[in-house]
C-alpha cells in the first residue's frame, strides 16, 4: 500500500503518456469526419498506436464511390451561421462544401480520400462496423482497399483494449 502511494506521488507531476487510441467516426458530413481523421493522424504522428472504426454514416468515408462526395451539412447546422431556409436552397450544400474544401486545401490539409490513404500509410488500422455494413446493404467490395476488416462491436472492443476510445 505504502509503496503504491509512493509510486503515485513520484509520478504525480508526470501523467502516463497516451500510447493507444481508437477513433470512432459515426458521421457522414465533412465537419463530422475531419475531426476524427485529424485525431487519428495526429496520434500516429506522436507515435501513438491508432485504429479507426467507421460506423453508420461514417462508412461513407471508406466507401469507394462516396468518399469523394462528402458534404458540409448546410441545414440544421448552427455553426454555418446561415438561415435554415437559405441552407435548404438546392445546391447550397455543394456550394458550401466547395468553399470549405478550398479553405481546407489552402491550409494544406488533404482531401478526405487522400487523408484516409495517408492515415492508412501511417500504419493505423481501419475497420468497418458490421451492423452498419449490413444495415446499408454494403459488401466488403464497396469499401476502399485500406479497410482491413468488417468487425462486430465485440471485436472492436478487443482491438481497442488497453487504449483510449474517442467517439466522433
Amino acid at each position: 500500500m505504502n509503496s503504491q502511494i509512493g509510486e503515485q506521488a513520484a509520478t504525480a507531476g508526470q501523467p502516463d503518456p497516451i500510447e493507444k487510441v481508437s477513433v470512432i467516426i459515426s458521421q457522414g458530413s465533412l465537419e463530422g469526419v475531419y475531426p476524427g481523421l485529424i485525431m487519428a493522424n495526429g496520434a500516429r504522428a506522436e507515435g501513438i498506436e491508432a485504429n479507426l472504426f467507421f460506423t453508420f454514416f461514417g462508412l461513407d468515408v471508406i466507401h469507394a464511390k462516396r468518399h469523394e462526395h462528402i458534404k458540409v451539412a448546410s441545414v440544421g447546422n448552427p455553426g454555418m451561421h446561415m438561415a435554415t431556409w437559405l441552407g435548404g436552397v438546392p445546391g447550397m450544400s455543394s456550394v458550401m462544401t466547395h468553399m470549405m474544401q478550398k479553405q481546407i486545401a489552402e491550409l494544406d490539409i488533404p482531401s478526405i480520400p487522400e487523408f484516409v490513404e495517408m492515415i492508412s500509410d501511417t500504419g493505423a488500422g481501419m475497420y468497418a462496423c458490421k451492423a452498419s455494413v449490413d444495415l446499408f446493404k454494403m459488401e466488403k467490395s464497396d469499401l476502399i482497399d485500406q479497410v482491413q476488416d468488417i468487425i462486430t462491436v465485440g471485436e472492436f472492443y478487443d482491438i481497442a483494449a488497453g487504449g483510449h476510445i474517442i467517439f466522433t
Binding site: N41, A45, E46, G47, D121, T122, G123
Partner: protein
C-alpha cells in the same frame, strides 16, 4: 534552460529534449541522438529525411510535419513510419537537432 551532452558537446534543449538552437547540432551527433530514440543505425533514407528537416528549418524557421515530409522530402509516408516508427516528424526533429515542428496535420 536545460542542457544535455551529445557526442561530447553540451547543447541547449527544451523540457522535452528538443534542441533550442539548431546551430549547435553537427552531423556527428545524429547517430547518438538516433540511438536514444531506438534507431540503431542511420541509413541513407534516414539521412535524406534529416537533411530535409535541417533545410526546412533553415529556410522556414520550422521543421515540416509528416504531411510536409511525405509530400516534398521524396520519402513516402509509409517509408517515413518505417524509418521513424515513433512519429516521423517528431523523432526526425530530435535526431536533426531542431525544435519540434508544430502542426495538426
Amino acid at each position: 534552460m536545460p542542457t544535455k551532452t551529445v557526442a561530447g558537446v553540451t547543447v541547449d534543449v527544451n523540457d522535452e529534449g528538443f534542441f533550442t538552437d539548431p546551430s549547435q547540432w553537427t552531423e556527428e551527433m545524429a547517430p547518438e541522438l538516433a540511438r536514444e530514440e531506438g534507431i540503431d543505425s542511420l541509413t541513407d533514407p534516414h539521412w535524406t529525411v534529416i537533411r530535409f528537416m535541417r533545410k526546412e528549418q533553415a529556410e522556414k524557421g520550422t521543421g515540416p510535419t509528416v504531411r510536409g515530409l511525405g509530400k516534398t522530402s521524396g520519402v513516402t509516408v509509409k517509408e517515413l513510419y518505417q524509418l521513424f516508427p515513433k512519429g516521423p516528424a517528431k523523432i526526425a526533429a530530435r535526431v536533426s537537432g531542431i525544435p519540434k515542428p508544430r502542426g495538426c496535420i
